[in-house]
Amino acid sequence: MLDNYKTGVFYDEMMGNNGTPKHHYRWFYQLVKQFSEQELKEKHETAQLNFLRQGITFTVYNHTGGTERTMPFDFVPIIIPKERWEEIEKGMKQRITALNHFLEDIYHDQEIVKAGVIPQELIENNPYYYKEQVGGVHIPLNNHVFLAGIDLIRDENGDYRVLEDNLRNPSGMSYVFQNRYVMRQVYPELFFQHSIQTLEQQLSELHHAVISHVPPNADPNQAPTAVLLTPGMYNSAYYDHVFLAQQMGIELVEGRDLIVKEDVVYMKTIRGLKRVDIIYRRIDDDFLDPEAFRPDSALGVPGLLRAYKEGNVSILNGIGNGVADDKAMYVYVPDMIRFYLDEEPIIPNVETYFLSDPEKLDYVLKHIDELVIKNVGASGGYDMLIGPQSTEEEQEMFKQKIMEQPNQYIAQPTIKLSRAPAYQEGRFYPCHVDLRVFVMNGEHTHVLPGGLSRVALKEGSLVVNSSQGGGGKDTWILSEGGEGHA
């Protein structure tokens, strides 16, 4: 099946250079070999259809309106041996703890700035730094990051590195569960020889994390009421919202379902108004409250921020987290770990150049064809240049942009992202992958075993985002030491 498969210069998750599978993929390889070509094709189609029938879709917008699409699913899982995973888990907890300290610090005493670790202007000039709105506010558990999605990649040596922190509204957790569900439905045979960490209980962990954020003024004699605030069914991640609300057993609300009266948030029910204590919002800061942020927001709830500041409602993730997960602040996360925790980062960053430094700028302009350029404020693979895959015209355009606004861009060496086999259109071929790890934070920090493996299904492409042709894979964390067992 993988006879013509070439690993090339990249690190391959599954295959060694000699054409044989790596140790922890041995069983998987054997099992897949037993499928006929016909079976593989049929299973592939059944799996894709499964997503469509269940309406597990995201909406893509273009000039003709929105189209519902499914995220293509690839059945070759990313398998991670236990010891490897434990290291990732530790690294993730460490990173989130530091980032959370950082957020608490910069909205209060700014010790890290006083210590000269992070330049003041980098924080003050950040468009997502909402000091005016939430500076000095005390929040439950002092916890700003209730759910983070940390994107990891592996370089050509197979070492994990953090590519991006998502501390605002990381999406995709529903896909982790649906990928596993479909995988079990369509490829039950593959599970026979593997002992894999289960995903059950994970949503009750999440629920527990949500309800641990009780606001100071909530009625102590009653269980807190939590809701998930969605922009609505036309949002591209709506399925994610539905799934999480449903599985956690909390109400899925839209801005128009909420009202603030005397700084208390209520939802409008068939029995009148009901007090809301905790809001897991999937709406960006800007749109939360037209009184405090964008006045044109129709998605938000007027007065929400006042209720938050009064301690009448908790908002998850915290307001103003954007200052910690943008691409410029990213560079300082290892320093944050050293500063707050007095530890060395377990999972390193990707090397990153600031273009405000004239020396680096000069270097980047000269070597633009070897580097990846990213807008510090953009996400989802937009406003990004991948040097080795770009035309001269595009490079010129980016040089122009960089020179106009050097602070707006960062550069990173083009990493030889690891690859894994993907089975699409009747054949196996290598595709670049990354891994979004979900970290939940409440009374304690918990890492969801595995996460969302995203795959760039366009051959040679480095962009894994679902809006740009990326797909998903199941992620297996082996519960035995790297060895499948019978």
């Binding site: 029938r53 269940q54 379902d257 068939i270």
Partner: protein, 320 residues
């Protein structure tokens, strides 16, 4: 439960029920039209079907003549007709999508599957057999949806809102069908035509022929048919059955208690119940019957409005 969600459940249910009822009416008409004696009869029949399934006035605003294919297109696929089957099923799916966290997954899947196949149907509907197949698909989708609701939903608040929507929609449709048929009878009473065929049609439109014929073998007295479709407490599409169940559902929602906010609704529902039971169908002529049916349809609108107000389904209109 959120008012918005309750509203969506209510309208999801009404839209599914409406699509099913309209599909059945159209399906019956496609068979009857084969027997229409002349163009005049055919046109009249289509006018009636339009009046039952949509609005004759709206149709004439868009088209200047009654053309069979145009009407079929109008009632099935037309985006211009808010009551077209396609629109009804699309609204139902959107309502379901907005309330997915309340619904059994299978219910969503049934409606989603219909939606996914819709494109293919749109390209195919050119012959009567294809149209009939499509109508059948609408009907079975509705029935499957009801099956899922009945077999897997807890008898709680979401379930009750779904049922109230269904019964109100049904009661209104039954009244509408009867109104149209009564009108036809009244007009033609002078000619002394055999009305057998009209009442048979009414029963077929409302899926009541089989049940009716078991109780009244093989006669087709107008009074019997009307009593059956209006007052028969055991037939699930009769006006009485539907309204009894709406009242029961609201009582269930309120756990048997009448509060100040639900008082008006209860009073109205009991009044409607009385009006139905006090009416002696046998003693009424067509004109009186039509008046009764018109009045009942107004009542349906009032009940629907009061129901929405009682549970805050509709945002109160602001005074300034």
């Amino acid at each position: 439960m959120l008012s918005r969600v309750a509203d969506s459940l209510y309208w999801m249910s009404r839209n599914i029920e409406r699509a099913e009822n309209n599909a059945r009416v159209l399906s019956v008409q496609l068979i009857h039209m084969l027997e229409a004696s002349d163009q005049q009869v055919l046109d009249r029949d289509w006018e009636e079907v339009l009046e039952i399934c949509a609005s004759t006035v709206d149709y004439h605003n868009q088209y200047d003549r009654l053309d069979t294919n145009t009407i079929i297109q109008y009632l099935t696929m037309s985006p211009m007709n808010v009551n077209s089957l396609m629109n009804g099923m699309t609204y139902a799916r959107e309502n379901a999508k907005a309330t997915r966290d309340m619904l059994p997954d299978e219910l969503w899947e049934v409606l989603n599957e219909f939606h996914l196949d819709q494109k293919e149907w749109m390209e195919q509907l050119s012959t009567t057999p294809q149209t009939q197949q499509y109508l059948k698909k609408v009907i079975t989708t509705s029935m499957t949806a009801q099956g899922v609701i009945e077999s897997s939903m807890s008898r709680g608040i979401p379930y009750t809102f779904i049922k109230v929507g269904k019964w109100l929609e049904r009661a209104e449709k039954t009244a509408r069908v009867l109104n149209v048929i009564c009108e036809k009878n009244r007009k033609e009473a002078v000619h002394g035509t055999n009305n057998y065929y009209y009442w048979l049609t009414a029963l077929q439109f409302l899926n009541g022929y089989d049940s009716y014929i078991k109780e009244h073998p093989p006669t087709m007295e107008s009074k019997h048919v009307l009593s059956f479709l209006i007052k028969e407490g055991s037939f699930p599409r009769s006006i009485r059955y539907c309204m009894d169940h709406v009242l029961e559902a609201v009582q269930h929602l309120e756990q048997g208690k009448i509060s100040h906010y639900s008082e008006d609704l209860f009073t109205m529902l009991e009044k409607v119940q009385e009006e139905i039971s006090d009416t002696s169908i046998a003693d009424m002529d067509m004109e009186q019957l039509m008046k009764f049916l018109d009045h009942f349809q107004d009542r349906c609108m009032t009940v629907s409005r009061m129901f929405s107000e009682t549970y805050y389904l509709v945002e109160p209109v602001s005074v300034n």
